[in-house]
Symmetry: C2
């Protein structure tokens, strides 16, 4: 078999999603080396996603709103971050890391402190300086850029980070759905003019749409009220879910949708679409992203100017845009799972392939099928872009391990069973097609082709 | 030119360092879109690395000990993290993300609070619960694993994270050399027996050596005193530097070395090697990593047991291992740079290649050399694993931009100048060979070959 030449990587591969470096391995992973816990949720009222994520060793919760992201979920999080990074790169965003800690007076300058103080963690350092733990970074960006003397040709400037953010939630709930510490992608745009700022806003919104499209999530862009972040207008990104704490109002005719706050402030709660006047339908939802056109809401108090081509100093026009990265992860589990079986967008499942060799001491094991399974795992790991785990807990039956792999939501499960003893060995190839799981018998080489096509298309 | 087949990726590439996903791009980057600032250090006593990192738009400092990692340095940090991830993966470590915030009573259980309280940021949440911001995570790992009922076959268990850590330093200094908030890789090993724990310790130490070898940094593994982290023995990893705050004692005969604390506590400051009794030489150094064999120092107070094969409950044997990721970055700049020109380990320079097209309106520009340079940039970006920036600030002279690229420490600088007008166009190819910069004239195709070999070997 000329696998090497058959599966040589396409030269255009930079367009596909690389596995993040942390997830590449010269050997396939082995389930006996993956941290699997037997913990069960303590709280009978836990949401579906929290229960599933604890039961499947994805997260652990030791105290309210503070979570341990375990190895399997850390893999999914790395993949999700890689997708976001790619889409940010595509529209010219640059990645930075700002401090978590800032001087509390920054929030007094912006006025956020007076509106939101009970939600913000604060502390004093050893010199009795008052600090806060940033929930978002508008103030830190503006106070910094106000002294950096940007010039017009440096605009538009798009800076983002993917870091832990902090919010002293009154009622943390649902595991990663609403934590006190969470991973957020926050992006800030700086433009010369209002019309440029609108272009940036639209560009980022399209980029967000691309991210959710790649995850095959049916996200709803919802007209929102800027609220306490401030600014001129804003949109939220919602996923419909009964576990959601938000309510959005969707027009059955024109598909426009509106957040609850927007309805309260802008309509007389008339339940008619602000766009086409048709009836609105209320839906429970999870907010997974937002976009704010801030105009000079922050750049003005921080005196954040740029030097124009005419050598005058003008206020920067600003936008801010957030994606709740850990929340998106939990939302996927909430929305795509049954009560027992996790569903993932194929791109961010912890592993894409699980290979299940025969039980130790079985006829198949004695006749060499285990070696065949190991060989397949090595080939898939080496010659395709898929990430592979071999479930070598061979003291367990094949059936037991198949159930575990399904519950964990691994898209492709390959069973090396009885049919591997035929003259041309056949594996049972089980794959997710949407939320359906299909099964067919495939040879070694056919599996290689099938996986390559799966990875390219997912 | 059959570039496509010539430069097809090797099937064994998973062994090389992939560019982290955030750094892959379908088009080469352009220097006009990279955030370059004109900030200068405010503090005349700033260390060499801090001055260079501010002057070259790598970091920005707005308040003592809290730093902004700008796009260029974020690239280097992502590459360094990718190397660490690869080496951790190689020895079977699993990546996790633990919370930054923990309940303060955890530090009382371990006793760290009484020894170290002035260095630890603490705060109260809205329910008046006392929390701390973790400088390291021994307590959070032990309190969690104490309820997870690990069984012997799950051991050894190696869990690590690369996250921001917090320490209320009395005297933050040197930018990323000693911040109050910094990125640290912290790894925790859990074993069944003392002899297994020693094997884990040696395995991690070898892995650390591999990381520094790949960075071509001459790290010195130094016998250290476990200090307040506690445990039975420990080593530190030091880089010799006059900017270092530490002193280590190196034996001129047997190359053993010892930390200052170790000397104070274990010898009568005799200045003789504990190994071979020869004379020791004192050197100033930067501590960039450490390893602690903790034994049951933490697992005992947290009652952190595993179930053995004999069905008895035994305390886990623990080790903890840290690498100061942002500190390594700054240390490289401190050690490898002159006062004007940054030196990087080739693997972690912000870009590997800078291409410099002619000045706008020059003869070369008018005769099409700019297009040639753009074409080269696109080919290098598409068909090699190198990351490429084209310095399109073409209002500046070539000379000006060459100086900037050298100061930023970009290993390969390719100038599209006068010789590009010859019948076979030649580029000036300037590359770092150790700390020396060499120059040769190369054709388009020769550059492609040279870069491929550079990327493979660096």
């Amino acid at each position: 078999m000329k696998l090497k030449s058959f599966f040589k990587w396409s030269c255009s591969q930079k367009r596909f999603l690389h596995l993040p470096t942390a997830l590449t391995s010269s050997e396939p992973h082995r389930m006996t080396r993956v941290l699997l816990l037997t913990e069960k949720p303590h709280d009978a009222t836990a949401s579906k996603s929290l229960t599933l994520m604890i039961n499947n060793s994805l997260i652990s919760t030791i105290t309210s709103g503070l979570h341990y992201v375990l190895p399997l979920a850390t893999r999914s999080l790395a993949k999700l971050t890689a997708i976001i990074d790619q889409e940010m790169e595509t529209i010219g965003c640059q990645k930075v890391i700002l401090p978590t800690l800032g001087h509390l007076d920054l929030l007094q300058v912006s006025g956020k402190w007076s509106e939101h103080k009970e939600d913000i963690f604060t502390l004093n350092d050893r010199h009795k300086q008052a600090l806060f733990m940033a929930p978002t970074h508008e103030e830190m960006f503006c106070s910094w850029l106000s002294r950096e003397k940007l010039v017009e040709k440096q605009l538009p400037l798009y800076l983002y980070q993917v870091t832990s953010k902090f919010r002293d939630e009154a009622r943390p709930r649902g595991g990663l759905l609403r934590g006190r510490e969470f991973v957020m992608k926050d992006l800030y745009s700086f433009d010369a003019t209002e019309s440029d700022a609108h272009k940036s806003y639209d560009l980022v919104c399209q980029s967000y749409q691309n991210i959710f499209d790649r995850l095959k999530l049916n996200v709803i862009k919802t007209k929102a009220d800027p609220g306490t972040i401030g600014g001129k207008h804003s949109h939220e990104y919602h996923l419909i879910s009964d576990a959601g704490e938000d309510t959005i109002y969707i027009c059955s005719q024109c598909n426009h949708s509106f957040s609850e706050e927007y309805m309260e402030k802008n309509a007389a709660r008339s339940n008619h679409c602000a766009n086409c006047k048709c009836d609105l339908q209320a839906k429970q939802s999870l907010e997974v992203g937002h976009a704010f056109y801030l105009s000079t809401r922050y750049t003005e108090p921080f005196k954040c100017f740029y030097r124009s081509r005419l050598n005058t100093y003008c206020l920067l026009e600003m936008g801010s845009y957030g994606l709740g990265v850990t929340r998106i992860l939990a939302s996927c589990v909430e929305i795509l799972s049954t009560n027992r079986v996790i569903g993932w967008p194929a791109l961010i499942a912890p592993y894409q392939i699980c290979i299940i060799p025969p039980k130790t001491g079985s006829k198949e094991d004695n006749l060499g099928v285990t070696h065949l399974a190991e060989d397949l795992a090595r080939h898939l790991n080496k010659y395709t872009k898929a990430d592979v785990v071999i479930d070598d807990r061979t003291e367990l039956t094949i059936g037991h391990r198949v159930v575990d792999a399904k519950c964990l939501g691994i898209p492709i499960i390959i069973i090396a069973g009885r049919k591997c003893l035929e003259s041309i060995p056949l594996f049972e190839f089980s794959y997710l097609n949407g939320s359906e799981r299909n099964m067919k018998d495939l040879s070694f080489l056919d599996i290689m082709k099938e996986v390559e096509s799966f990875v390219t298309n997912c």
